[in-house]
């Protein structure tokens, strides 16, 4: 019998609210399965079980807020000897067959999925035990991706039950940053591993949109002025109405195209790292509503007050690195989404307009899309539609 406790998911995490159980008593779980979702100030995070066995009792109910270390459930040791529980679906589990209590201990020893033991240096393993952290969950930076002493130390952070790590604010900030780095790392590694990306890019004449925007802003008081990013977001949402297969998720070996457009907006943080909060129902909202929400999200993302739910449910992501001066972005899809759109910086270029050269303000739009869900032809139509919509900004 073991206790499934609320783990520390970052150095500054003190408590979390349980949001959802993916398992119920009697379900079989395998070490490494995500069995619950908790909400922290960094968003909703799935937490894993560190031992194989059977869920005996659930002790914390959804929406309860509990401190780190609280026992959330009890797990009866004794894993399955074959197969792999799929507890995400097992919330409605058919596999209710609990192994007998007297199952031989030896059967608990299972090779981890994939066959190879995770690389953890002996010193890191020992230190992790002293700090009561699970080294299996730490991203390794040592030779061959092994978890090293330093990785354990930075993952445990100052909140770890030890007197040896200095609890300075600087260290805490570092540990928080490294925990975000790990989250980003996990997402992009998964993306590059699982998603066959294809990339398309086109340059769009933004002059009409910007001219319209300047006219609008000239008439608006300061707090109601729009930034051009809003027009880009509206154009993306509009284009998705015509090419919906860029919008949604790839899950369970199939694309799940969504009707509602929730756009994840990549926001870089001053301290490094990025957050991708969600602007909901972009296709239904007018630019003014979006501007108010966007501005609120950016400000709160940067001051660290995003709600966990605001980091969820995006059906597509838009990233704009234009202000950092790059022409073109080659973005990585945020799994399990189907596509991501990147915008570069606005540059002045000579373009033919009505057969005469003119200086126009141009932006490069790029698309990375999941080739399992769509093909380049549809991607091209999608970018072309964004372009078309931006030529008629008043209709956005």
């Amino acid at each position: 019998m073991s206790e499934f406790r609320l783990p520390s998911l970052g150095a500054d995490m003190k408590d979390a609210t349980l949001r959802e159980w993916f398992v119920e008593p009697g379900d079989t779980v395998t070490k490494g399965d995500s069995i619950a979702a908790v909400e922290t100030d960094k968003g909703i995070i799935d937490i894993e079980v560190f031992e194989s066995g059977t869920v005996k009792e659930i002790l914390v109910q959804p929406d309860e807020k509990v401190p780190v270390g609280t026992v959330l459930a009890t797990i009866r040791s004794g894993g399955k000897t074959q197969g792999h529980a799929e507890p995400r679906k097992a919330g409605v589990s058919e596999d209710k067959q609990a192994p007998p209590e007297d199952m031989p201990r030896a059967l608990n020893i299972q090779p981890p999925p994939g066959g190879e033991r995770k690389r953890i240096s002996p010193a890191a393993r020992k230190r992790a035990r002293e700090l009561s952290v699970d080294p299996e969950n730490i991203v390794g930076t040592g030779p061959g991706g092994a978890v090293t002493l330093e990785d354990v130390a930075s993952s445990a952070g100052p909140a770890a039950p030890t007197g040896t790590v200095a609890g300075t604010a600087e260290k805490q900030a570092e540990a928080a940053a490294s925990s975000m780095r790990r989250a980003i790392a996990a997402a992009v590694v998964r993306s590059n591993r699982e998603i066959p990306h294809y990339y398309l890019s086109t340059s769009i004449d933004l002059t009409p949109a910007l001219t319209w925007l300047e006219q609008q802003n000239a008439e608006r008081p300061l707090p109601l002025r729009l930034v051009y990013a809003i027009l880009l977001l509206k154009a993306v949402a509009g284009a998705l109405q015509k090419v919906p297969e860029m919008n949604g998720f790839f899950m369970d070996d199939a694309a799940q195209v969504k009707d509602d457009v929730h756009v994840g907006v990549a926001i870089s943080l001053r301290s490094g790292g990025l957050l991708v909060p969600t602007l909901r129902d972009v296709h239904r909202k007018n630019p003014d509503e979006l501007m108010a929400e966007f501005s609120d999200l950016v400000n709160r993302a940067r001051s660290g007050h995003l709600r966990g739910s605001e980091l969820q449910d995006a059906t597509i992501t838009v990233t704009s690195l234009g202000e950092q001066g790059v022409d073109t972005v080659f973005p990585i899809i945020y799994p399990p989404q189907l596509a991501i759109v990147g915008f570069g910086s606005i540059v002045e270029r000579v373009r033919p307009v009505n057969r005469a050269p003119q200086v126009r303000r141009v932006i490069n739009a790029s698309l990375a899309a999941d080739h399992r869900a769509s093909d380049g032809h549809r991607g091209a139509l999608f970018l072309a539609e964004i372009d078309r919509l931006l030529q008629e900004p008043e209709r956005l």
């Binding site: 300047e214 008081p221 300061l222 930034v227 990013a229 001053r270 501005s295 202000e323």
Partner: protein
């Protein structure tokens, strides 16, 4: 209101928008976005904060004048009634 007061208020607003700016290191003559990670959203927030603080509207076409701290102080000084004469 003299320029020093304007500068102090403008800097306060700037630090509210971008707390990572070190006022000791900020070069008042160089555009802020050339020195810090200060994007258009930050700039808009800064402009809104200035507009609110000094109770004035700053049209978009004037944004170019307030890119640097010195520029902003100069612009504000000229547009606040009665302050320009003091200097």
């Amino acid at each position: 209101m003299n320029r020093e007061e304007i500068r102090a208020l403008a800097l306060k607003k700037l630090l509210q928008v971008a707390p990572d700016i070190n006022p000791g290191e900020l070069d008042p003559k160089t555009p802020i976005r050339d020195q810090y990670d200060f994007d258009s959203m930050d700039f808009l927030n800064f402009t809104i904060a200035l507009g609110r603080e000094f109770q004035m509207d700053i049209p978009e076409k004037d944004y170019v004048a307030i890119q640097s701290l010195d520029g902003a102080v100069e612009y504000l000084a000229q547009h606040i009634e009665g302050s320009a004469e003091e200097n």
